[in-house]
Symmetry: C2
Subunit: 337 residues, 2 copies
DNA sequence: GCCTTAACCGCAAACGTTTGCGGTGTCGTT
DNA sequence: AACGACACCGCAAACGTTTGCGGTTAAGGC
């Protein structure tokens, strides 16, 4: 029974005037006398009147709410994206509904459905690792729901995007390793149905190529978790592969590899240099500290939200889709010196 | 213009029947003929009809949405709480609106207001570090809005709570340090207007007391961030205090201290044992690995949400407030052996 | 004394649903 | 032939707002 909250009608009844008058008085409409306005404002204050946002949403066909679909909140990168989103949305008077896909396709589809049902004014989405079917996303387009994709985008889909230059960053990472004398560089890649994983791998390959280093498929794994990293690092050792560098698709993977190697007596960075990706809280607290790429999650969140709000507020006016590419800084630390 | 979404009226117009009939047909009301039902369901499917949740909220005076106020999402503990909340809410068909207070009082007050305006069915809240005035929270109570406090609760406020036994956990942490031979144990405490900080400090003091170790106020600091930890760790060294253990109010603080000491050549755990709190992703990746207390964020989120849903669904029926106290496991690792 | 003009205010419709109550039409029964 | 029963459907009100379009007063001008 939280319908105990006071409505305009309650104010009207109490003051013996009409609801319309109360509504107008509350927004200082010139048609209303100063006296009435004062009375209304006073009572509203006294009874702690809060306009019913639900009723407003229905009336204005505008919910002032944006939906966010995020793979997993517990990652530093994603939670900082949310922070960015939250801050910008808050300043613009928008609410944020968060849905986690938990990296599951089914759940992502359900999330989209929920957000559409909630009539959010727009959606920010980073697709799950499982997602290879994009029907639900095309559906968004067909219904004219403003949507901005951040970080993990859909190949070929015309839409607003904000991403970092994964290809270039990975290229620079790998080049950095090569420049410091490494010749056998392993790559722990992400799932290749994600564009970012592809880009990161391709940037890695380009740098190898430029340096005249042949691609060695024994040094490339699909390993994007802490556990998988330990597994494959172990395999590298057991199979006696010669390698002197690892470029991992994210920090946790890099750290998994690092720990495994260290336990087997391999020195970082002397024997093997390691670089992660998506500079989070971890990179500063390993020993040695982890070279990584700052993915600028917070900034990505703010920019994506600004793009979305712009499109929401443009309303009728159409304009071409935009793609913003953020620079990713390579932050060199002890693990690759 | 996402009002492009199809409504019951659209279906009605298309089928030349009334909106009421469509509504009933959609929910297989017995008054409607099989034939009409089939036609309605078919068209609804074809046009991808999604019931307008906003209209429903207004009508049923129930939004099927819960609000969450959280200090800062980017902390592992809090983001795992959110995960727990999200999962339970999702299964129950509830949406989640997230608001970050960013540890600011003003923002927290605004968050409460927003959530009330959005007519959420209930609120989960962990108060900010700044919050010492509880008017906005009492306001929730006065308006009969179901509220569950998690982790950081309000002293003396009658409400549902879910917390961990900070006092006991801290007591055990400190006892563990004492049992392993430490005699001069420093405490890096959190802001004392938070109950959890008080409890943690008191648990620490109790263990000292029991062991006949006098409290040394030179060894107690209010330091709950990475930077402050480095500062005070440095001060401990510079002032040549003799200490052989540190119990920090959270992991990041512990790590800040650990790194500072290590840089000054102090060996962990040989010279100084260190224990953190709120076992996150960090504790496994430091060197040595950090002894900490598992705060069970995910579980806290699920339990808090279950309590909230229970109260929401109880609706009219009132029942006494509950407080659930979760056990916190002490996880002993290299930093305190 | 009548008309204009302004100053205030209320009616009613609308946003998309649900739902009580009634209405229509078609049977079968007597 | 009249009536009840049943199956099926629509009207209208309601949830809390906003807003166009009037309507009612009172004052002022002629």
């Amino acid at each position: 029974m939280n319908s105990g909250l006071v409505t305009i009608k309650d104010l009207a009844r109490e003051l013996k005037i009409s609801a319309s008058t109360v509504s107008r008085a509350l927004k200082n409409h010139p048609d209303i006398s100063e006296e009435t306005k004062r009375a209304v404002h006073e009572l509203a204050e006294k009874l702690n009147y809060q306009p019913n946002a639900v009723a407003l949403s229905l009336k204005q066909r505008r919910s002032n709410t944006i939906g966010v679909i995020i793979p997993e909140i517990v990652h530093y990168f994603f939670s900082s994206v949310i922070s960015g989103i939250e801050d910008v949305a808050y300043d613009a008077g928008f609410n944020v509904i968060i849905c986690q896909s938990n990296e599951r396709y089914e759940r992502e589809v359900a999330n989209v459905k929920t957000l559409m049902a909630s009539r959010v004014d727009g959606i920010l989405i980073s697709i799950s690792k499982e997602t290879t079917d994009y029907k639900h996303l095309y559906n968004l387009r067909n219904n004219n729901i403003p949507t901005v994709f951040y970080d993990r985008i859909v190949p070929g889909l015309q839409a607003d995007h904000v991403i970092i230059d994964d290809f270039d960053a990975s290229y620079r990472v790998t080049k950095h390793l090569i420049d410091s004398g490494r010749k056998h560089i392993a790559h722990f890649a992400g799932p290749l149905n994600l564009l970012i994983s592809q880009h990161r791998k391709n940037g890695y390959l380009k740098a190898l190529n430029e340096a005249g280093i042949p691609e060695d498929r024994h040094l490339i794994f699909e390993a994007d978790t802490f556990e998988k990293a330990r597994l494959f690092a172990m395999r590298l050792i057991n199979e006696k592969r010669s390698f002197d560098g690892i470029f991992a698709v994210n920090d946790l993977t890099a750290i998994g590899a690092m720990q495994t190697l260290q336990k087997r007596g391999i020195k970082i960075p002397e024997d093997v240099a390691i670089v992660g990706f998506s500079d989070g809280r971890f990179s500063g607290i390993t020993d040695p500290r982890l070279t990584s790429v700052d993915q600028h999650g917070y900034e990505m969140g703010t920019i994506a939200t600004e793009m979305l709000l712009k499109r929401i507020l443009a309303d009728d006016k159409e304009y071409p889709f935009e793609t913003k590419v953020l620079n990713a800084n390579l932050i060199i630390r002890g693990s690759s010196l």
